[in-house]
């Protein structure tokens, strides 16, 4: 329902892959450190301090993390770039305004109406959500579709989401907002092309 590791859209998919890659890398590094730690307890022969400083501090402490981190950073930046809301044809624009404790959604293609608690989008098309708030800070998060983005007073933030297939996805507000926070949830319904047109014409229930 809310799982980031069960992605249903390209953004969530990219990030889930990123997670699995990082988990694998981190496990290897963790194992390496633990092995080194255990080996410290065996008998060993003497060496000189200069050599040790070179091996431990410069080699393992400086060069090794620099290399790993540079690679990870590059990967992260490329992924981040791909998730940006870039201009393109075919993009659907909607608005999401948070207020304690519900969301109101508006549609650029159907300016005459808004929906409360449920956001309708077309499946298979990128959607830009303009996230705003009427009171305190909230965060718009549909874990199976994309990462979260905050709704900050006085600002409009744009989040790109996309659902691969038609269906209903759960979303939550992910910035603590007081007593109503537990139940501050919403739904995203992704429609196939026909239903989407119907929705825009106002005849979808």
């Amino acid at each position: 329902m809310l799982s980031t590791v069960d992605p249903a859209g390209p953004a969530a998919q990219t990030i889930a892959t990123l997670w699995w890659v990082m988990l694998a890398g981190a496990s290897l590094i963790f194992a390496l450190v633990m092995v080194l730690l255990v080996l410290a307890f065996r008998r060993k022969n003497a060496g000189d301090d200069a050599g040790r400083v070179r091996a431990w501090i410069v080699g393992l402490g400086l060069v090794f993390p620099m290399t790993v981190l540079a690679a990870l950073l590059a990967y992260g930046l490329i992924v981040g770039e791909r998730l940006l809301p870039r201009e393109g044809p075919d993009i659907v624009k909607v608005g999401a305004e948070g207020r304690l404790s519900a969301w109101t959604f508006t549609y650029e293609d159907a300016p005459s109406f808004s929906t409360d608690g449920t956001l309708h989008i077309p499946a298979g098309r990128p959607v830009d959500v303009a996230v705003t708030t009427a009171d305190v800070i909230h965060s718009f998060w549909v874990p199976r579709l994309a990462g979260k983005l905050d709704a900050i007073p006085g600002r409009t933030n744009i989040l790109r989401i996309e659902a691969d297939e038609a269906g209903t996805y759960t979303g939550v507000s992910a910035e603590f907002s007081g007593t109503g926070y537990d139940s501050f949830t919403f739904y995203v319904i992704a429609h196939d092309a026909a239903n989407w047109d119907a929705f825009l014409n106002g005849d979808f229930e």
Binding site: L18, L62, L83, G147, R155
Partner: protein
């Protein structure tokens, strides 16, 4: 005089009053260090109880244990207590207790300040506890984001408790940091140059400097938010030119360094304990110091990684992501230096070592997940979920609690002079280790399954039930383990048999004394020639007790020590400390009245408390110093030193330098906030601007120029044997002019409740006015001292101190006036 006679005489001079009454008047660092630690662990216990309540609540879905109102208070107070009332004070307590002993001296630089800091912590912490007992505790999460924490959405007193109580407690952090910095730089045994300092002192120095530059943004943020709540100045309200993101910047500008302020002392403990456990010196001392310094610098450049989801521009994200991953490098360097040390030596599995292994296992995982969340896209998913809760506990528990437990067990024989006799500690360690990982490992996963942090309950359909139940069971195992450690420590203190001196065969100076430590630490001060003095001279303790070091002959009733030049460790001043006094507890009580009045909105008692603090501070400073000149004092080994009253750089000057460092950081944060609002906040330009005035600006600048010049004249006059009174009067006039200019600025500022622009100008003006008043007070004090014969051409130490503050006043007031007047004058 034989060793016993010397011990008796010194004890008579240094001892606190007997019995519990002594607690209120002691200024001795050994007592206060213990009091800090005991209080901090009391709060750890309370914070732990709250953690148990959290886990009880989350153990099952649809929990009816506590409603959200109460639950929000519980987790907010858990986080707040652990961070502000446990972790930081534990560092302070450990440093206060250990540093003079490790550095081979008799006390910290400002004993009364230690006591004042302790009482501010105790009173401020009590305030927080009271709020909890009455069910009106803070409930906005430990980072208190506005607008949720603003007056509209949190009208109750809960948030005020946080803002005011924590600011009160922060006084103790700043006091301890000034104290620790000056002590490490100046109060060391002769011969201990910087490169011969015990590694713990390096870590403590770096941590203290980080507190001085890391806490002021939070203090400023708290002041601004409280002023917004109480008087409606809209610093964080977007519709009126404020910006809620300003709070986030100020908070995390503090909050991220805070994490390293917590980790670095623990790393200092590791660097001290680990080599002893491995029977070998630390590998790469210089590298480790460099890594710790690098960590400190870097940590001020990555606060934005807590704000990756706020819609910061992409370039900014990339920069802060890079900086955040980079910080893993110096951390890794230290980890590998420690493992290298273990390879070099022969590790022995004593109890402290077990906790250190617990540290490695836990902290490495925390570090790796830390790197993960530094990668922006991943953070967009993980942010504000249980994944973060898990990560932060791996870092804080792994990076702080395990090392501190190692340290407690390592120094326990020093605190009590006894040795452990049970295996309770080993068993407790196993429970803590297993309990911790059962509690938190799977919590990463439930976060990825979408469980947000700070929710008070969830539904069975969410699919999180099993993990939460396991986690809660684990937390109770953990709690039992921690309780056993506390019991172990208690039993140890009460019943264990006497142990021998230096049971770990450590090399640092704190073991060169009888244990439990005598009030005066060392009967005579050592001459240090090595990083591990006890390794090269195992008999050192006996030699010092026999009076073979410096200051081995007690004089009068003086609590004597000496200071050294910062870099070389060459002796340079003779110091007589103040003795037991109730002034610190009294002054912190009056400080408490100030904060309580603000909290309860009894505004008419605020000025009373301010005057009270001023009077006590006057008394405080008045009581040191002499009315006659003093010859240089023989300190042993044919060295004669001037008393600090007869120098140009007395301890008070050093203290002022670092206090002003913190102060300047606060002022800098305020200017940053102003610039941030002006350029980034949505609701600008303001409806009306400040009416600039060339004459007001000129008046202020003349005053700001006059003060420092006249003060220099006064110093010169006094040095040459003349009377400085006329120049001091001119200095006073300068400060008064500045006060008038700042007051005029506040009067002409447009209504501060209407726009953040005016609100900030008003605060800037009051900052200037406050410092002008402070300057006036100080110059008056100096005039009174001159007239009462406390100064002479030799006893000149107070002039440079006042000069420093007058100079600071000039710099900030010119900046303030220019910021207010210039934009309008330029058109």
């Amino acid at each position: 005089m034989n060793a016993l006679g010397r011990h008796r005489k010194l004890t008579a001079i240094w001892a606190s009053e007997p019995g519990f009454k002594g607690w209120f008047s002691t200024v001795n660092h050994t007592d206060l260090g213990r009091m800090f630690l005991a209080t901090a662990f009391f709060f750890f216990f309370i914070g732990g109880l709250l953690a148990m309540l959290i886990r009880a609540q989350l153990a099952t879905p649809h929990s009816a244990f506590a409603g959200p109102d109460i639950y929000n208070q519980i987790f907010t107070m858990h986080g707040t207590i652990m961070m502000f009332l446990f972790a930081i004070p534990t560092f302070e307590g450990l440093a206060v207790y250990l540093l003079p002993k490790m550095l081979g001296t008799r006390d910290l630089a400002f004993p009364r300040l230690t006591a004042y800091g302790f009482w501010c912590y105790a009173f401020g912490g009590s305030m927080m506890l009271v709020s909890m007992v009455f069910g009106i505790a803070p409930d906005g999460g430990w980072f208190m984001y506005p607008p949720l924490s603003g007056a509209i959405h949190s009208p109750g007193i809960n948030t005020d408790f946080w803002l005011i109580g924590i600011t009160f407690v922060e006084i103790s952090a700043i006091a301890a940091a000034v104290e620790i910095t000056v002590s490490i730089l100046k109060y060391r045994a002769p011969g201990m140059s910087l490169d011969k300092m015990p590694i713990f002192a390096w870590y403590a120095l770096i941590t203290a400097l980080m507190i001085l530059t890391g806490f002021p943004p939070l203090i400023l943020g708290s002041i601004l938010l409280e002023v917004e709540r109480a008087f409606g100045f809209p610093f964080f309200q977007a519709e009126l030119g404020g910006d809620s993101l300003l709070w986030q910047h100020l908070f995390w500008l503090f909050g991220h360094p805070e994490v390293y302020i917590i980790f670095l002392p623990a790393a200092g403990v590791i660097s001290t304990v680990l080599p002893v456990m491995c029977r070998t010196p630390l590998l790469g001392y210089g590298w480790i110091v460099a890594a710790a310094l690098a960590l400190a610098f870097l940590s001020f450049g990555l606060w934005v990684h807590h704000m990756f989801t706020t819609g910061i521009p992409h370039m900014g994200l990339a920069f802060f992501s890079a900086a955040s991953t980079l910080v893993a490098v110096p951390t890794g360097m230290q980890i590998f230096a420690w493992i290298g040390t273990m390879w070099k030596g022969r590790p022995e599995l004593h109890l402290p070592m077990l906790h250190l292994l617990g540290f490695f296992f836990t902290f490495v995982i925390g570090g790796l997940t830390g790197v993960m969340v530094a990668v922006v896209p991943f953070d967009w998913q993980a942010h504000d979920t249980a994944f973060i809760t898990a990560h932060l506990h791996y870092v804080l528990f792994g990076g702080f609690v395990f090392p501190i437990f190692a340290g407690i067990y390592y120094w326990m024989p020093h605190f009590t002079g006894r040795k452990r006799f049970f295996y309770l500690g080993e068993f407790a360690f196993a429970l803590v280790f297993i309990g911790f990982h059962v509690t938190f490992l799977a919590m990463h996963w439930v976060g990825l399954l979408g469980q947000r942090r700070r929710i008070s309950t969830y539904a069975p359909e969410d699919g999180w039930t099993a993990i939460n139940l396991i986690s809660s069971v684990g937390s109770f195992v953990l709690a039992i383990g921690i309780a056993m450690i506390l019991i172990d420590v208690f039993l140890h203190a009460l019943t264990a048999s006497r142990g021998r001196r230096n049971p770990w065969r450590a090399g640092t100076l704190e073991w060169a004394m009888i244990t439990p430590a005598p009030a005066y630490n060392f009967a005579s001060l050592p001459h240090v020639t090595d990083r591990n003095p006890l390794t090269i001279e195992p008999d050192l303790a006996v030699q010092l007790a026999k009076g073979e070091g410096y200051l081995g002959t007690p004089r009068n009733t003086w609590r004597e020590t000496l200071t050294v030049e910062v870099a070389s460790g060459k002796p340079d001043m003779h110091v007589i400390y103040p003795a037991n006094t109730r002034l610190p507890i009294l002054m912190s009580a009056v400080t408490g009245i100030f904060f309580l009045s603000l909290l309860l909105k009894f505004y008419w008692t605020v000025p009373v408390a301010v005057v009270g603090v001023a009077i006590l501070a006057w008394k405080w400073v008045w009581s040191i110093g002499r009315q006659d000149d003093m010859d240089t004092v023989p300190v042993g080994q044919d060295i004669h030193l001037p008393n600090f009253a007869m120098t140009d750089r007395p301890p008070g000057w050093w203290g002022s330098v670092f206090l002003l460092t913190a102060n300047a950081t606060l002022f800098g944060s305020l200017l940053f906030g102003f610039a941030f609002l002006w350029t980034v906040a949505p609701g600008w330009p303001p409806p009306d601007w400040f009416p600039p005035s060339v004459s007001a600006l000129a008046l202020g600048i003349i005053g700001a120029g006059l003060g420092p010049i006249a003060m220099r004249y006064a110093t010169q006059k006094n040095r040459n044997g003349g009377t400085p009174l006329a120049s001091l009067a001119l200095t006073l006039a300068g400060a008064v002019l500045v006060a008038v200019a700042c007051a005029a600025m506040m009067v002409h500022t447009p209504a501060p409740t209407r726009h953040a622009y005016a609100a900030t100008l008003f605060v800037l003006g009051s900052y200037g006015l406050f410092h002008a008043a402070l300057g006036i007070l100080m110059v008056c004090f100096l005039i009174a001292r001159v007239r009462c014969g406390f100064t002479s051409s030799a006893r000149r130490a107070e002039f440079p101190i006042v000069r420093l503050w007058i100079d600071y006043l000039s710099v900030v007031s010119v900046l303030i006036l220019v910021v207010a007047h210039l934009p309008g004058l330029m058109g």
